[in-house]
Symmetry: C2
Subunit: 269 residues, 2 copies
């Protein structure tokens, strides 16, 4: 059994509807900081709320339209299916961004065929930006603007714009991982932090050249692969193997194979 | 000699026109990453270009409408005036954000009266967000939405959302400053990095509670003071004195006097 371009085209249109539904749940709960802190009484957590309500809405839509498809979501775990297709959902990636009012949190939607991500979507509701990768291309949509995007094509690490969500060993990185990241940062031109999955869309867009992270789970990265690869980028774990083949959740994405190889060598020490 | 609310109201309307003009210069040069790196030939620098062209446009407008006013700009230095008023301009604050395609770079416009900032504007052209602080209030405008904003009102540092542009001693911070920041980060709930002046607008908006930075110059922070203070926040240097009274360019902004005092104590060690 296999699938056609037509199948993917149908699923991509459906994923757009999923992302629209997630926007409605997340955006209405965004930037309620004053509400969180000024109110007396029990803790009010708009992030968890947005995450749960959005995932509920997405699961209902998938179960209604594709009842045989499997679903893996961050909040409500796995639903077994009776087909080679599985949807992987992270309705609000970047919880800390969401709770600090910054606009790097995103909705991540992936579709896997026999375990391999063949469609990925990254959506930022506040800026109304959406990147979708499938069939070897990555498309960007914002309001009436749509375009196909490519990575920067950069090969020289000395010019590279690097990103990770938290460079400190007090965050996701172990001490050894933080030291490995610092070696790449020293070789690169500039580093930006705290971008979560938004960094991968900027890599696909040609604006960031390398993203290095750790401790990622399937729902954190499944959608990123088609988006980065469709734009000409490379994504592996820190050993150069497919993401998910180790238990550390280490990931490196780069604009070109040359840049990827240079960064991998620095990570190895 | 002094000034009236009517003067400020007129200057605020004029500053909106300045910010609109800066948008036109910066936004057209934003996210040209592929252009920077893919082209052969001489280095192409859209950031510097945006900065210079925007400042030229702003200076022309000020000189035409208020020829006696003094001007201090990041790119073209100081123009002496013949009045108590001085405009302080940073057309693209957050150069590294701009060159990495992230949306935390801003245009900063301040108006000082006898050396004290009495009007401040922070504008993010891509998200179309603008914060203005004057006459004891801070206003937020985005498309048709306008509202008066307040800080979170948070007093408990254990719940605080903290930000700095770069937490590493390889960035703006000295080793001692990075260690001082780490003490505050350990006490706070969550930290976000790489936000530049945008962090101060989020503080005024009630979404971030503390911002701590160093190595700031007058054009980096003059506009931030009226925006943060108009929303009920506190801004000083790390000794609790007015910003600019030391040579290090250290700044701390907090949602409340209580939170400010708690963070100052941790910075002191």
């Amino acid at each position: 059994m296999s699938f056609s371009q037509n199948d993917l085209s149908e699923f991509a249109a459906f994923a757009d509807r999923l992302a629209d539904a997630a926007r409605a749940e997340s955006l209405t709960r965004f930037r309620k900081g004053a509400m969180i802190f000024n109110k007396a009484g029990p803790w009010f957590d708009p992030v968890t709320d947005a995450d749960r309500e959005a995932e509920r809405a997405l699961r209902r839509m998938i179960e209604s339209v594709y009842p045989k498809h499997a679903i893996l979501g961050e909040e409500f775990g796995e639903k077994q299916g009776d087909s080679p297709w599985r949807w992987v959902l992270d309705p609000v990636d970047g919880t800390r961004a969401f709770m600090c009012g910054t606009t790097s949190w995103t909705t991540l939607i992936a579709l896997e065929y026999e375990g391999a991500p063949v469609f990925g979507l990254i959506d930022q509701p506040f800026t109304e930006e959406r990147w979708t990768g499938w069939a070897g291309k990555t498309r960007y949509a914002r309001a009436s603007e749509t375009l196909e995007v490519k990575t920067s094509g950069l090969k020289d690490i000395a010019k590279a714009r690097l990103s990770t969500t938290d460079p400190l060993p007090t965050g996701y990185f172990s001490d050894a991982e933080a030291a490995a990241f610092a070696r790449v940062a020293k070789a690169a031109r500039v580093a930006r932090f705290s971008l979560d999955a938004y960094a991968y869309s900027l890599l696909a867009h040609g604006e960031i050249d390398i993203v290095i992270e750790s401790a990622l789970q399937r729902h954190d990265y499944a959608a990123l692969l088609p988006v980065v690869e469709g734009a000409g980028g490379v994504v592996t774990n820190w050993q150069g193997d497919p993401p998910g083949t180790d238990e550390k959740g280490e990931l490196i994405a780069a604009a070109t194979p040359e840049l990827h190889a240079a960064a991998l060598a620095l990570l190895a020490g």
